[in-house]
Every structure is written in C-alpha cells, then in structure tokens.
C-alpha cells in the first residue's frame, strides 16, 4: 500500500493542502455535521467516503449535485411514505462490492456472496418499483439503479423469490439425484447403526448414550474383553477408572458408510460445479451489478443529505460562477444559523437568533460584547461555506457566494493567555499565509489576544492590512476583535453585534436595586417588562454555556465560569441581541462591557466610577 493511495488521502484535496484542515473542520462544527450524514447501507457509506468538496472550477458539478438534492427533497415532501419504505430497503442492503471483486478476479462465489447478490437484486427491484410509483422522471438519473433481471433470473432457483440463497436441486438434475440417493443411504445407515446399538446393548447389557459412547469400569474385565472383541465397538480412550468405547459401523453399516462417503464427495463436487458455473455466468453481468450498486449507494448518500436538509430546513445556495470581487457582495448570508448551537440553545429552552451578513471586501471586522456571539457568527459563516462546498444544503434562508479553495479558522486564545499560546497562534497563522495565491475564506477570532494589548492590536491590524494589499485571489477575511477602532483604522467594513441595547439598562441613573437582574426578586419583573418597545432586544441565548460550534469552548462561553449566578446569565441570554449590524466609523463605542458587568451584579459604585473613566459615546 503506497501512501499515495486515494483511499487514505481523502481529506487532502489540492496540491497545497486541505480544503478544510481537520482543526478548522472541528472548530466550525463541520466534522460533527458531516458525521450526522449517515447513509444506511454499505454502498451508501462508500459513496460518502468517496465524496470530495467542490473546489473553484467545479461550479457546474456542484450545481448538478444541488439539482439532484433539490429534486429528492421535493419528491420526499410529496411522498413521505414511499421514502420511509426506500430507507427501510436501503437499511437491508448488504455490501455487494466484495462479491463483485471476487467475480472480477475470476473467483467462485460462496453462498454468502451469492446471497448478497440476491439481496442486491431484491433491493434494486423494490426500489425501482417505488421510484416508478413517484414518477421515475423526477429522480436524478444517477440515483436510479438499472434493472438486474438477468442476474435475478440466474439466482432465482436459489432464492425462490425470497432474500435467501441455497444451491437448490433446480440448478442441476444430477445434484438432485445424488442428494436423493444420499438421503436414502443416510437413513438406512442410521437404521443400521440403531440396530447395531440395540444389538450391542442387548448382548453386553449396557447402555449406549445418545452420543454413541459408552463407558465401562476397568474392574469389569470380562465386559471390556467382550466389548473389545465386538466389531461394532471401538475403544476410544482410557481413564484411571474407565474404558470408553464408541459405536462404530460394522458389516452392513460399514459398507453403507463407504457408500455414504462416496455420495457425500460426489454431492460436494456437484455443488462446487454449480457454484463455478453460476459465478461464470454472473461475471457477464458484472457491469450491470456495479452500476446498480453504485446507483444505490448514490441514492442512499443523496437521501441522507436530503434528510439533513429537511431536518434543518436548509436552503440551496446561489453559486456565483465568477470568483473575485463581483458585486453586490462576495459572500451573503441571510438568517443563517449554526445548527449545533441552535440545538443546544433550544434544548435549554432558549430562542435562537439568526444572523445576516454581507461581506464585500477582502477584509471585514466584527466587534461586539463579551458573550455577544462573535465566535458563533464567525463559525456560522465558515460552516455554511463548508457545507455548501461539500454539497450540502445550507442552514439559512439565502446564501450567495463563490467557491473557495480553502477555509481556515483561527480560534481565539482567551483561555490561555501568555506568550506560548500566542506563539502557537502565530505558527498556525503561517498556514493560510503560505497559501496567498489561493482563494481562502479566513476566519480569525481575536488574534493576538494572548499578547501585550497594544502590540497584539498592531499585529492584528498589520495582518489584515497585509491581506488587503496582497490578496489577488479574491479571499475573504473575517476578523472578530475587541479593538473597536480597528475597522476604522483600516477603512474596512465593520459589523457590530447589537448586544445589550442601551435602553435595556440605564447605566447612569440606575441603582443596583432597579437595574440588576442580580437582585433576585426583580428578575421576573425584568423579564416581564421586556416590552416590544425595547426593540431589538429579542430573546436569544446563543452564546451561552456549551453553545459552541466545535469541540472547543469558545471564549465568550468560558466567561460564564467566573461570572455571576445562573440567573444573571439567563438574564443576559434573554437580553442580548445577536443581530449583526453594519456600522460606520462614527458609531460610538457601545458600553456593553459595563452593561454586562452590571447585569452580572457588579457593585453599582464600581460601574459608576467606570462610567467616569469611559463616558458615554466616548
């Protein structure tokens, strides 16, 4: 096995590297989404294992894939019963590829492999029937298996219309005759042996067990001597106390046994002959079987993708053929959500808030408060692109984009500040930088946080500027940051998480009693007074504990560990507005940090002092 074998290099897609490096796949939650695409049959799993992402230049093929997927989703909506039956059939489908490999090598198939081919035929017949019921024209051609009637005919004597296989008499009259003779001989032999047993039992006055054995005490010398002299008994073993004999065929039975052995031999030769001939004939239909198996695999894979699309009510993305800076924007998402985070939020009774964003510049910046869902927004963008390019419908109401060569996600380093984590960050940033000639979607989460603030900020700004100046491939860089003035300094689009609308908490005039959810008794009042007038403050709690797209806890969520009580956090979830809004350079810095601090019950006096250091709008 050479390392270059395609079987073992599935996720490396271009000469320069991955479309989706494993760590990025993990962080975006794509690995988990992809794992939830679960074909039901071995051919389906094989089809999935052979899937590749669609890279720039393969827009047509991806459109074709979405055509198929869309067609199946539509059929499914109209014929749910048919689909559940098809899924059941796919579940019962066995892996036919080994049998076909054997046939190709000119080998003789075993009964198990023949059963598997009979099973393939049955599945094909039933699925074709169901597809016909829904109007065969509506099905993608690649997912309709060709009929296997000739193969089915060959296997029919052995399967009798059942999902079974047996070398039946119908395959060979000679075999049928041998079997009949053998059965007769066997019955006669058994009779003769039983007779022999009775004779021995009578003459020796002993009992022969059902296993055909008998044990005699060594002290019974005469009995043992007599037994030894009988041709019907053979001595098998001796122990300290006993001698064991076994009934062996003598005289007529011995002759019968010889005959039986001969017939057995003949039968097994004739059976082997049937298998050889059958395998040879099946070999001529190899192509049809392969086509059918692949179509079933394709169908299964397609259905499992459609299942996912249906489950998350996903949308077909619009692919703009021409990569680069085509107006109106490079990447547009409307009402997008991260399915894993959404599940998590909804499982604890929260209401998930979708985001919309339009990226039309090489570099865009997102700012927002702690726990404001910046990282989730970043992951959602990455996940939608990853899913689209792997041929999956996307979790949003509308998406427009052009294909990327790769996606790179740099997670935040908040948990472990210090130079070593900073160093690790820099080392991994060299990955996307080494691929400047390719069109990348580069998602940066608070790069440089581990470093000294002013140096970190300078470095982040420089990195983004480098992309602005040097990217010729039409890459999209989306960067989250705490540095509020970063976008303005670079002159790039600035997206801001709305956060805690200032109206929701009057910082200046408040006393702790009124303002803080930290005051336990007031908590309900806060929730109840959440009137529509407080626009933009929808319930939503997608940045909370555990609401993380990938396996790694995002920095925002981590804040909870040291924050106030669960109720304070709940309050925060309910009042956080995760909407992204595009803001101009003149927008004042929101005082979210102070609001959050207050919400989490920090002493009012400290908040007041902080306001003096950082006056509103300053």
């Amino acid at each position: 096995m050479t390392p270059g074998n395609p079987r073992y290099t599935r996720s490396r897609h271009s000469a320069t590297g991955y479309f989706l490096p494993p760590s990025t796949s993990d962080h975006l939650g794509f690995a988990q989404i992809w794992a939830s695409v679960k074909p039901r049959s071995a051919p389906g799993r094989r089809a999935k294992a052979g899937a590749r992402p669609f890279l720039p230049g393969t827009e047509g093929a991806l459109e074709g894939e979405f055509d198929r997927l869309e067609a199946v989703v539509k059929l499914w909506d109209g014929n749910p019963a048919v689909f559940s039956e098809i899924l059941g059939i796919l579940e019962s489908l066995k892996d036919p590829f080994h049998a076909m490999d054997l046939l190709r090598d000119g080998q003789v198939l075993s009964l198990a492999e023949l059963f598997i081919l009979a099973n393939l035929c049955a599945c094909v017949r039933r699925i074709r029937g169901l597809q016909a019921q829904t109007g065969i024209a509506g099905w993608p051609g690649t997912a309709v298996p060709p009929g296997l009637e000739p193969v089915e005919d060959l296997l029919a004597p052995g399967s009798q219309g059942q999902p079974r296989f047996y070398i039946s008499d119908a395959y060979s009259p000679a075999l049928a005759e041998t079997r009949k003779m053998r059965k007769q001989a066997q019955e006669m032999w058994q009779e003769q042996m039983a007779e022999q047993a009775r004779a021995v039992e009578q003459s020796l006055g002993i009992r022969i067990s059902e296993t055909g054995e008998t044990a005699m005490r060594k002290s019974d010398h005469d009995l043992i001597e007599k037994a030894r002299s009988m041709p019907e008994l053979g001595e098998t073993r001796q122990t300290l106390t006993h001698v064991y004999f076994r009934l062996i065929p003598a005289r007529a039975a011995a002759k019968r046994e010889q005959e039986l052995t001969m017939l057995k031999q003949r039968q097994s030769e004739q059976e082997a002959q049937v298998l050889r001939e059958l395998s040879l004939e099946l070999r001529t239909h190899l192509q049809a079987m392969e086509a059918a198996s692949c179509a079933l695999g394709e169908l299964d894979f397609l259905l499992s993708k459609a299942e996912l699309a249906r489950a998350m009510d996903a949308t077909r993305p619009v692919i703009r053929e021409e990569p680069g800076h085509t107006p109106p924007s490079d990447l547009m998402l409307r009402d997008a959500f991260h399915p894993l985070v959404k599940d998590e939020v909804e499982s604890r009774g929260g209401k998930y808030q979708r985001i919309s964003i339009e990226l039309d510049s090489t570099v865009s910046v997102i700012t927002g408060p702690n726990m404001g869902g910046k990282t989730v927004a970043l992951s959602t963008v990455g996940l939608c692109v990853a899913m689209a390019q792997w041929g999956l419908m996307v979790p949003c109401s509308k998406m427009e984009f052009s294909l990327y060569d790769f996606i790179y996600f740099q997670p935040g380093q908040e948990q472990t500040p210090g130079l070593s984590s900073f160093a690790a960050e820099i080392v991994s940033l060299k990955q996307p930088l080494s691929r400047m000639g390719e069109r990348g979607l580069i998602l940066l989460d608070e790069v440089g946080r581990g470093a000294n603030p002013s140096q970190g900020r300078a470095l982040y700004a420089a990195l983004l500027q480098y992309y602005m100046e040097n990217d010729k491939a039409g890459s999209t860089v989306l960067a989250t940051t705490h540095y509020h003035g970063l976008a303005a300094a670079l002159g790039v689009p600035h997206w801001q998480v709305k956060g805690l609308a200032t109206a929701s908490l009057d910082l200046a005039g408040s006393s702790g009693e009124e303002a803080g959810p930290g005051a336990e008794t007031k908590r309900e009042t806060w929730a109840e007074s959440d009137t529509p007038a407080r626009a933009g403050t929808k319930d939503g709690a997608q940045a909370g504990t555990g609401a993380k797209p990938g396996r790694h806890t995002e920095p925002e969520a981590r804040a909870q560990a040291t924050a106030g009580t669960r109720d304070d956090i709940g309050w925060l979830y309910r009042h956080m507005d995760y909407t992204l809004q595009k803001v101009g350079p003149d927008t004042p810095t929101p005082q979210d940090a102070l609001v959050v601090a207050k919400a989490l019950g920090l002493d009012a006096e400290i908040i007041d002092k902080a306001l003096k250091f950082h006056p509103r709008g300053g």
Binding site: S110, L111, N119, P163, Y166, R207, S209, E210, A215, H242
Partner: protein
C-alpha cells in the same frame, strides 16, 4: 435401553424456556458433548433449533478418527449462525438467509437454515450485546429453541440479557480434587443463583436504577408521621454521576450515607464487595448487580448480594474425565456435585450424558430411575 426418570432434555423442555446457554466452568468439561446431546434429543422431538456460539472454541480433533471434529451437527431445518470463513467446505447444505453486519473472526457472520443435516463449527459474535440480538433474530425466524454454545469458560453467554436459561458444564478439568471441584461448583451455583431483593419496592427501584446506567443508591426513609401506627418505610432512588465502581470503590461507598442498597449497573468487583462488607458491618446494606454474570466474586462476599435480573439455572452436566485423561468415577462425581449444590441451598439436577449417571438430590419432582 432408556433409563426411566427425567433426562437433561426433559429438564430443558419442561422448563418452558426458549433459549438456553451451555457454559463451561473450564476447558474440556464436555460442553460440546452436552450441546450435541441436546441438539440430537431436542430435534428428535420435532423442535426447530437455533444454534449459535458465544465466540469460538478451539477445534478439537476426534480421538477415534483423527479428524477435526466440527463442534455441532445441525439437523435439517435448524437455524444456525456462524462465520462465513468456516462455511468453506461444509456450508453448501445451508440456505443463507442473512449476512450480518457483525464481524466474527472468520469474516462476516452468516445466518442460515440447514437444508440437510450439516456438521459445522459454530463461530459467534464478539460481544454479548450482539449475541443477544442474534438469539432474538433466531427466535423471530421461527426457532422453537435456541441453544448457545458458550465459548471456552466465558460466562457472558449466560447473561439473562442473552438467554432465558443456563446449563452449566463442569468436570474434572475444573479441579482434579473431587472435593475442591464440588465446592467450587457449589460457590458458582450460589453466585449464579443470586435472587432479586426480597423487598418488592427495592427490587423495582433497582431495576429502574440499572436502566440509568449509573451507580445508584436506594435510600430508606422511615416515615416518622406514621411511626405510632406502624413501621412504614418508603424507598427513594439516588443516582450518582458514576457509570462504574471500578477503581473508585471508596469514592462510591463514601456517598452511601444511610442507603439500604447500592445498585451497580456494570461489573461488581471483589474489591468493591470487600469494601461494601466493611460498610455493611455498621448498618443494613445490600449490593445489587444487574445480573449474576456481572459479579466478579471469588468468594462469598459477606454482604447481601442481589441482582435485578435473576438467571435461571436448569442443570449441571459433568465430565468426570479431565484434559489429561484422568477420571473420577462418574457416579461419584455426579453425586458429590449434587450434594454440594444441595449444601449451598440451590439443588440442581446433575448429569453425565456419556455414562448416563445423574443426581437429582433435593430437586423436587425429579423421580430417580
């Protein structure tokens, strides 16, 4: 020719069970002999059999013919499960009805019906979970009785999750000292006969606890309000975060408080039992396991020991000959083991299907011939 009185086969048919595991206490205890005896007797009674193994036994060489001996002869009509790799050469008499996803050692497991009498080796699945699914499938396909050949001396096939009932095969290979072998059997039968907790409320909670897959305590709350009229105890389930007691025996027991019992969903180790005994010295305290095969006791634990799913022991078979060919007197061995089971309060019929010796000491309704 036939002796009067109940034989092993009658014990099986009379028990009303649909699946029986034949498990050995050691190697060379005549498990295969017992299996083949049951196959031939049960099929002679017209039952459709399902045959499967819990693993793989070393293939024996037939002493008389020098030929390798397939472990079982499946009568015509029987359903069998084995690996496709062992079917080569002997499998053409099978009508294949399924190829299971489960991998055995010799390739995929194949399920088939014997179109004619077929001698073959049984190879089973890797785990008890898979075995249990196969037993259900064989019953579904129409087997009247499923026999599970327990590979080697592994007990997993005996789990009530897998089969309805168990036959224990033992013999001189367990211990050449008759007294020691009888004692060891007495202990094993005692262990495998662990009942449910005698208090219904506790037993019901214990069943619930095992479902949770976490170690649980059952607390007894004496109802103080009703103390005047009569003693009234209610029981409450307390679920811990631990799926196992292994390696954290002390940590678990420290949480016991005033619990009346601890329910362990997985393995109950000897170390845990030792520590639980020390605990039980101070108060009433019982250990409840999922089933008896999950208890890894090497001696009587000195603490009340119960299960949520009791195991049904049908009989013991005895092979008086050990693997070196040394032998006890069959009658003596059968008698000694029968007496030992009687001593521990769990009498069972004991058979040597080769010599025909049997003991039904203390077993109700078992007329001696």
């Amino acid at each position: 020719m036939r002796e009067t009185g109940k034989q092993l086969v009658d014990v099986v048919t009379g028990s009303g069970v649909r699946s029986v595991a034949i498990v050995g206490t050691a190697k060379n205890v005549g498990k295969t002999v017992a299996m083949n005896y049951l196959v031939s007797e049960l099929s002679a009674q017209g039952l459709t059999l399902g045959l499967v193994s819990s693993g793989r036994d070393g293939e024996a060489i037939d002493a008389f013919t020098g030929q390798p001996k397939p472990s079982v002869t499946a009568p015509q009509g029987a359903w069998v499960v084995t690996a496709e790799g062992v079917l080569r050469g002997s499998g053409s008499g099978l009508e294949i009805a399924d190829v299971l996803g489960t991998q055995g050692v010799f390739g995929r497991l194949v399920l088939g019906r014997a179109a004619e009498e077929v001698a073959l080796e049984l190879v089973g699945p890797r785990s008890a979970r898979e075995l249990s699914a196969i037993v259900s499938k064989l019953l579904e396909l129409g087997a009247d009785m499923v026999l599970v050949d327990g590979a080697l001396d592994r007990m997993a096939a005996a789990s009530p999750k897998v089969t309805d009932a168990v036959i224990l095969a033992t013999g001189a290979s367990l211990d050449m000292d008759l007294e020691a072998a009888a004692q060891e059997m007495g202990f094993l039968v005692w262990l495998l006969s662990r009942p449910e907790h005698p208090v219904d409320a506790v037993a019901a909670l214990a069943r619930e606890a095992v479902e949770s897959d976490k170690v649980c305590f059952i607390d007894a709350c004496k109802d103080t309000e009703q103390r005047d009229t009569q003693q009234h105890t209610t029981y409450v389930l307390r679920i811990t975060d631990h799926p196992t007691v292994l390696g954290i025996e002390d940590l678990i027991l420290e949480q016991a408080g005033d619990a009346a019992a601890v329910v362990v969903p997985g393995a109950v180790s000897q170390a845990f039992l030792d520590k639980a005994r020390a605990w039980a010295k101070r108060r009433e305290f019982a250990v409840i396991a999922g089933d008896a095969v999950s208890i890894f006791a090497t001696k009587r634990p000195g603490v009340d020991l119960y299960v949520t799913q009791p195991l049904k022991l049908l009989a013991v078979t005895v092979n008086p000959v050990n693997w070196l060919g040394m032998s006890h007197d069959p009658r003596e061995m059968v008698g000694a083991i029968g007496a030992s089971l009687m001593d521990v309060g769990h009498p069972l019929p004991v058979f040597d299907v080769v010599s025909g010796e049997k003991s039904t000491e203390g077993v109700g309704g078992m007329a001696m011939g």
